[in-house]
Amino acid sequence: MEALFAILIGLFFAAAIYLMLSKHTVRILLGVVLLGNGVNLLLFTTGRLTREVPPIIPAGMDALPAGAANPLPQALILTAIVISFSFFAFLLVLTYRAYQELGTDNSDEMRLAEPRDEERPPMGY
């Protein structure tokens, strides 16, 4: 089962990276969302998979029953989901603003820094 997940996660990453390699910030944005999901699934799988038994201690017991899901990765993923959502929101605003300022979402055209024809530093003393 983990192997199947591993393949799916690999695909998530591949798709995310493919999108992020694009020049368009909107595609990069989509890539970031996919990447977030990929990482979450990855965290989930690293903690090993168990079926359907949530990590909730049944009434009358002091510990989890055998076969319950691993709670720690879940806690971690909850954090990660929230943070990746923050990232998403922020990048969205940033893209929006860049589009308004520069009139493009093509990162290739955003090169005020390091323009191609900058003159060389002086060679004399």
Binding site: L43, L76, T79, S86, L91, L94, L102, A113, E114
Partner: protein
């Protein structure tokens, strides 16, 4: 969790709590009274950071808190105080430029405080999750302030680039953490170290470590994770760049030191190779690329890349001397950098308008002799020329590397510092030997104070640097 443990935890993390609660209060003030309260908010923010710093210096108490996720040891204390100083100075310097750089909004000081809070949490992180959180907290605020200038398109561009690459590195770091967790079943640094020293190491674990290190290297802008640095340094408003160059570097270096000397100490041989590679690449790129720069902020970016490489030389040693070298290096680096940025901010033409080209410094010795003297001292110090502080910084890390028998690293370091010295000297030459093209406007008091103090520090270090060295040594003892 009993009340006793909780109160201890609260006491240990009081500076962080002060900042967190304070930031919320500042936000309230800002929201309810608008942008006209910016100067009040800035003043309060500085006061807040000062209180946190004083608490750290004067209140005793050391140990773990919150079930081991938070650690306050001499190392953390030293680095936190350093980061706080960096933030305070950067914030004070921003006051004069707030108007012209469009930073006069109440969010700005609040974001700086929140970012500083992130740094403090990061420095104290003793657990992978706490590390991730601290790092994100710090970085998110940085992403925002990089893009803060409302008029500059460059600033937007800088923010976007920084964010996309930063998100990438956080992703990698998170991935690395999940691998480390997957192989050790633990997130606490001590527990990871315990497992690593008792079990045979696993390839996947090494990968996890590599990715975690990569995330930290991104934040200190070490090669090959440096790409954002020149663009962001140049694009962001200068006060923001000064802030970037100070506290966040200290915090990220602190966590890098803590991860490798605590969690990954049992696999020193593995991470040492990575650190050595990163260090060499950073030193070389920092030195070579800086020579060709005309914009002084870009130059500072490459210079900071190089400096991080030198600091990593000490880390590569993996010894107590090495870590105390890193601590000392970061201290001296931060003070030199802040002083230099104060000078850069003072580069303002009489006719108005900021200039940032190296050539604009020509003939400074005749127009602004005091600034020229200070900047000369700073440049010589950055070049590592004795008897200035920068030399001792380099000296201690190289000594540590040689003690650890990393000869090649030390030799490359020395060679690249020769190359590096060239561009600092070019600035000195410009200031003293070239004809002035125009005069700078009157320099504001706070900038004068900052670069004056910084200049005093680098020149007087040779006489009074002993206690700082001793403190750095004590900080390094936290790990060994």
């Amino acid at each position: 969790m009993t009340a006793e443990i909780l109160s201890l935890s609260l006491q240990l993390s009081m500076p962080e709590i002060i900042l967190a609660v304070g930031a919320l209060a500042l936000l309230m003030i800002g929201v309810f009274s608008g942008d006209k309260s910016t100067s009040t908010v800035t003043g309060l923010a500085v006061a807040l950071l000062l209180v946190a710093g004083l608490w750290l210096i004067f209140m005793p108490g050391e140990g773990e808190a919150y079930g081991g996720a938070f650690m306050l040891d001499p190392f953390a204390r030293f680095m936190k105080v350093l980061a706080l100083i960096g933030s305070i100075v950067a914030m004070v310097m921003s006051v004069g430029r707030a108007q012209s750089d469009q930073l006069d909004r109440f969010e700005f000081p609040v974001l700086l405080v929140l970012s500083t809070l992130g740094m403090m949490l990061l420095i104290s992180a003793n657990d992978l999750i706490a590390l991730y959180l601290g790092l994100e907290l710090m970085s998110l605020a940085l992403y925002v302030i990089a893009a803060f200038n409302r008029d500059s398109i460059r600033s937007t561009e800088a923010g976007l680039k920084y964010f996309v690459l930063g998100a990438l590195s956080s992703g990698m770091m998170l991935y690395g953490m999940s691998l480390v967790y997957g192989f050790t079943g633990n997130t606490g640094f001590d527990e990871i170290a315990g497992i690593l020293s008792s079990e045979p190491r696993h390839m996947g674990l090494i990968f996890g470590m590599v990715f975690v290190l990569a995330g930290a290297c991104f934040k200190i802008s070490a090669v090959p994770f440096h790409m954002w640095t020149p663009d962001v340094y140049e694009g962001a408003p200068t006060p923001v760049t000064a802030f970037f160059a100070a506290g966040p570097k200290v915090a990220a270096m602190a966590i890098l030191v803590r991860i490798v000397s605590e969690a990954f100490l049992p696999i020193l041989a593995d991470w040492r190779q990575i650190i050595v590679f990163v260090s060499i690449a950073s030193m070389l790129l920092g030195s070579f690329a800086a020579i060709g720069q005309r914009n002084i902020k870009r130059l500072m970016a490459y210079s900071s890349i190089g400096h991080m490489g030198y600091a990593l030389v000490g880390l590569a040693a993996g010894t107590e001397t090495g870590v105390s070298g890193v601590v000392l290096y970061m201290t001296i680096y931060m003070i030199m950098t802040l002083g230099t940025f104060a000078c850069i901010m003072a580069m303002r033409r009489k006719e108005g308008g900021n200039v940032e080209n190296v050539d604009d410094l020509a003939g400074l010795s005749s127009t602004k002799p005091f600034m020229a003297i200070v900047l000369t001292a700073l440049m010589f110090s950055m070049a590592g020329i004795p008897p200035l502080a920068g030399f001792f910084a380099k000296y201690f890390v190289f000594v540590a590397a040689i003690e650890a028998k990393l000869y090649a690293l030390a030799v490359i370091g020395v060679l690249s510092s020769v190359v590096g010295a060239y561009y600092y000297l070019r600035i000195v030459k410009l200031m003293w030997f070239d004809e002035a093209q125009g005069e700078f406007a009157r320099i504001s008091g706070e900038l004068r104070l900052v670069f004056g103090l910084s200049g005093l520090f680098v020149t007087a270090y040779v006489l009074f640097g002993g206690p700082i060295g001793t403190a750095a040594n004590a900080a390094a003892k936290s790990f060994f």
